[in-house]
């Protein structure tokens, strides 16, 4: 009877040990598995990151369908005070563009990393594309980028001390300033002044010639009256100065030179 209980006790201890062993082993296995998994994850993450980088870099190519070419003419604009184009300026550009995108699409928070630049040339021209902040493999469409740039064009220009002509986004036409339209065209004003002067001159001349004619008529009337009275006095003989000889009066009126 004692042999049976010790056998049972031995069996139970053995099973317990087995269970413990298996538990430990399973725990170890799980630990190893999780370790492996985490490494894999890391690798995947790293791979993914590299992939996404590569994909993102792939997204930015010259003539990309959703990208734009930018051209800066710093020396033309600023001549003596032109600054060097370097990495910091490029960073400023990307930040400004991120700002422009945030202004346009208010729900999404664009970061500097969302603006991807490629193909820089000594001319200072490059291509850029904009990726969505939610998923870096998705590009923001051309129309949205164009709208964003259009809205904030002034701010982008002034960040670089340039103008629409010297900071060009190839494909995005600048909205030109509205022409100033005065109510009365200025030429009409000058015309009115000159016309007024000329009109006044003509009226003056015409009036003065009419007045002159009237005066002449009055004078000739007076002279005719004078002649008549002279003739009358001669006839009456009350003036004893002799006979007035008509043929010697008013010479200028009859003789023509």
């Amino acid at each position: 009877m004692i042999n049976l209980s010790s056998e049972i006790a031995y069996d139970s201890v053995w099973t317990g040990l087995n269970i413990l062993q298996s538990a430990i082993i399973s725990a170890q296995l799980r630990f190893l598995l999780s370790l492996l998994l985490s490494v894999e994850m890391l690798e995947k993450i790293i791979l993914l990151l590299c992939c996404s980088c590569a994909v993102a870099q792939h997204l930015c190519t010259p003539d990309a369908s959703d990208g734009y070419k930018v051209r800066l003419s710093i020396k033309t604009a600023l001549e003596g005070q032109a600054y060097e184009w370097n990495e910091n300026e490029m960073f400023l550009f990307r930040a400004t563009l991120a700002f422009a995108m945030r202004n346009h699409i208010r729900e999404q928070k664009f970061e500097v990393s969302n603006i991807i630049v490629c193909n820089e040339t000594p001319r200072v021209s490059f291509w850029f594309v904009v990726t969505s902040p939610e998923s870096t493999s998705v590009l923001i469409g051309k129309e949205d980028v164009e709208e964003a740039v259009r809205k904030s064009r002034n701010r982008i220009n002034s960040a670089f001390l340039l103008t629409d002509k010297t900071l060009e986004f190839i494909g995005i036409l600048p909205t030109l300033a509205a022409p100033v339209d005065p109510d009365t065209p200025p030429w009409l004003i000058v015309f009115g002044v000159v016309m007024g002067i000329v009109g006044a001159g003509i009226i003056l001349l015409l009036v003065s010639s009419v007045v002159q004619k009237k005066r002449k008529n009055e004078m000739t009337d007076d002279e005719e009256n004078c002649e008549e009275t002279r003739v009358k006095t001669v006839e009456n003989g009350s003036v004893g100065e002799g006979v007035y000889n008509m043929s010697f009066s008013d010479d200028e009126r009859f003789t023509q030179m």
Partner: protein, 598 residues
């Protein structure tokens, strides 16, 4: 009992200034420089001065002598010389009428440009923006801003002469103003004209001197002056050089319109017009040469600016296409870079080959433009590039206005003076009659402010006066030399100025001038008949430049009418007088008999 004495100039200076103001006109500023340039630069002066001596001065002298002797307008003056030739005066009046109709339009354009100069940005210096504000208007971009302003905003020109449209209000207003000023200047006849010419004859010279100083100091002016004065002697062998020199002297002095006869008719009988004729002719030619120096200085400036702009455009194009650093190409080594890039990147270079235009200073200078094109397009283009462009623009257009108004005075006087010689019209007051003439011309001339107006203007300019003037002056000189008789003419001149004309004058009148004129006349007829259908330059909106178009049938008929209408006055009047004399002759004989018997 009014004074019937003929009104006269206050002093001989007024007469000289009136002649100068009339002769020195827009042709001196825009036609002579063009001729100079297209016929060999400095070499053109040789035929020009030769023609001045052979034909210009003698014919000028002749017209002044006739006017001063006959003391009446062209119709009565020529009737007095020979009763059958009253038609000559009538032809002059008709030609002057045509001239009056279209000449004031140029003054209207000058006013338009003058008024538009009072803006901070000259309207012809920038292209206006199109309706969706993405860029300049297409027509303006294809042409240039100055051409767009002239053809679209000033004229609103139609694509051909056949199309019609309403009157351009701004143009019409300026046109009315031009006529009002003309009326203001001639309202009292010679009394008012005599005072005005002090200003219109002298102020243009002030502006020309100012412009000369400005022009010579412009960047690139030396190119233009050098270009003009390098004589190309081979041009002298070309017959058209001589023809053009003769025609230019002719029209520049304003012979044949009757204005000189009219002006001289208000002279004192003993005025020494011989000296005055020589003075005025040489002043006129001198002004032409002086004005062409100014024009070519400005021309050189404009050509240089265009050339440098072309270089700049090419430089930017190369930099942008090949993405080179900004300061790698400068204006001087553009051409070297072109060669280099063509060699290293031939494919890419071929792609931009159509955008790249050839920059050539010679070809810029070679673009000869004459007439209204030179005055309003080329000059305004040059002015917009000058600093303080508003000031230069105002000065320039005031000068154009004075030159044009001065010539208008002569044109209107040429119509008024002969018509006032008729008894029924002489009773009307000066003011009323002059006003009616101006009103009539203005109403007819409004047609030139419509969209095809510029094409009609060109037609009148090319055909309205040229042929008939040649004919008129030819008949004039033959009449005086052969029909009236050179001996009688000599005696008349001796009567007026105290000595007979010497052998030079007589040879010119009797031999040289008639021969020259006949040659010119024949050449003109040959040119006209052999030239095929007459054409004109129509402005094409799509292409942004002028294209040569043929006149439609009604246009050609009208040209024929213009040519024939004034010339036919001479034979028709001669016929009319002949018929009247025959009628009178058959009536007079019985009267004589009755008187004798009584």
């Amino acid at each position: 009992m009014e004074k019937d004495a003929r009104p006269s100039w206050d002093n001989p200076t007024q007469f000289v200034l009136a002649c100068v103001s009339y002769a020195v006109g827009l042709g001196n500023v825009w036609r002579f420089p063009y001729l100079c340039q297209s016929h060999g630069g400095g070499g053109f002066l040789i035929p020009y001065l030769l023609m001045l001596v052979l034909e210009g001065v003698p014919l000028f002298y002749l017209e002044l002598a006739i006017g001063q002797k006959m003391r009446s307008g062209s119709i009565r003056a020529w009737s007095n010389i020979s009763p059958y030739l009253g038609g000559l005066g009538l032809a002059s009046v008709v030609t002057s009428l045509y001239l009056c109709l279209y000449y004031n339009i140029i003054n209207a354009w000058s006013f338009w440009y003058l008024f538009h100069s009072f803006q901070s940005v000259l309207p012809w210096s920038v292209c206006p923006i199109n309706s969706n504000r993405t860029g300049p208007i297409e027509e303006c971009e294809k042409a240039s801003s100055t051409q767009y302003f002239f053809y679209r905003e000033t004229l609103n020109i139609s694509p051909t002469i056949e199309e019609n449209g309403g009157i351009h209000m701004g143009q019409a207003l300026c046109f009315v103003l031009a006529w009002l000023i003309t009326y203001l200047f001639v309202v009292r006849g010679v009394k008012s004209t005599g005072k005005v010419v002090y200003f219109t004859a002298t102020f243009p010279y002030v502006v020309l001197v100012i412009y000369l100083i400005r022009g010579i100091t412009l960047h690139g002016a030396a190119n233009g002056i050098k270009y003009m004065f390098t004589p190309k002697m081979e041009e002298l062998a070309n017959i058209s050089t001589w023809i053009n020199a003769a025609t230019q002297i002719f029209f520049s002095l304003g012979l044949g319109f009757g204005s000189l006869v009219a002006f001289a008719s208000y002279n004192q009988y003993n005025n020494n017009f011989e000296r005055q004729a020589i003075i005025v002719s040489f002043i006129n030619s001198g002004t032409s040469i002086f004005a062409s120096i100014v024009t070519f200085a400005i021309y050189g400036f404009k050509a240089t600016v265009n050339y440098e702009n072309c270089l700049e455009r090419t430089r930017v194009l190369l930099m942008n296409t090949f993405d080179l650093a900004e300061d790698s190409i400068s204006m001087d080594n553009v051409f070297d870079w072109i060669e280099k890039l063509n060699a290293t990147h031939p494919l890419q270079f071929a792609q931009i080959a159509d955008k790249y235009d050839d920059c050539n200073l010679e070809s810029e200078l070679d673009t000869a433009v004459e007439g209204t094109g030179l005055a309003f397009i080329v000059y305004s283009e040059a002015i917009k590039n000058m600093p303080l462009s508003q000031l230069w623009s105002v000065l320039y257009f005031i000068m154009l206005l004075l030159l044009g108004m001065g010539s208008m005075l002569g044109n209107v006087t040429a119509i008024i003076t002969p018509l006032r010689d008729f008894k029924m019209l002489s009773h009307m007051s000066n003011e009323l009659f002059n006003g009616l003439v101006c009103l009539f011309c203005m109403l007819l001339g409004l047609g030139f402010t419509t969209p095809p107006g510029n094409y009609w203007f060109t037609m009148f300019n090319d055909y309205g006066a040229t042929f008939s003037l040649l004919f008129i002056v030819l008949i004039e000189v033959i009449t005086v030399s052969y029909i009236y008789g050179i001996r009688r003419f000599e005696k008349d001149i001796e009567d007026m100025i105290g000595h007979r004309p010497n052998w030079y004058w007589k040879t010119m009148w009797v031999v040289v001038s008639p021969v020259l004129l006949i040659a010119l006349f024949i050449f003109y007829i040959i040119n006209y008949t052999m030239g095929g259908t007459p054409t004109y330059q129509a402005w094409d909106k799509e292409l942004g430049k002028s294209v040569v178009t043929e006149y439609p049938v009604f246009g050609q008929v009208f040209i024929g009418l213009l040519l024939v209408s004034s010339v036919s006055c001479v034979p028709l009047t001669a016929l009319y007088v002949f018929c009247r004399k025959r009628k009178h002759g058959s009536r007079r004989k019985p009267e004589l008999v009755s008187m004798v018997s009584a």
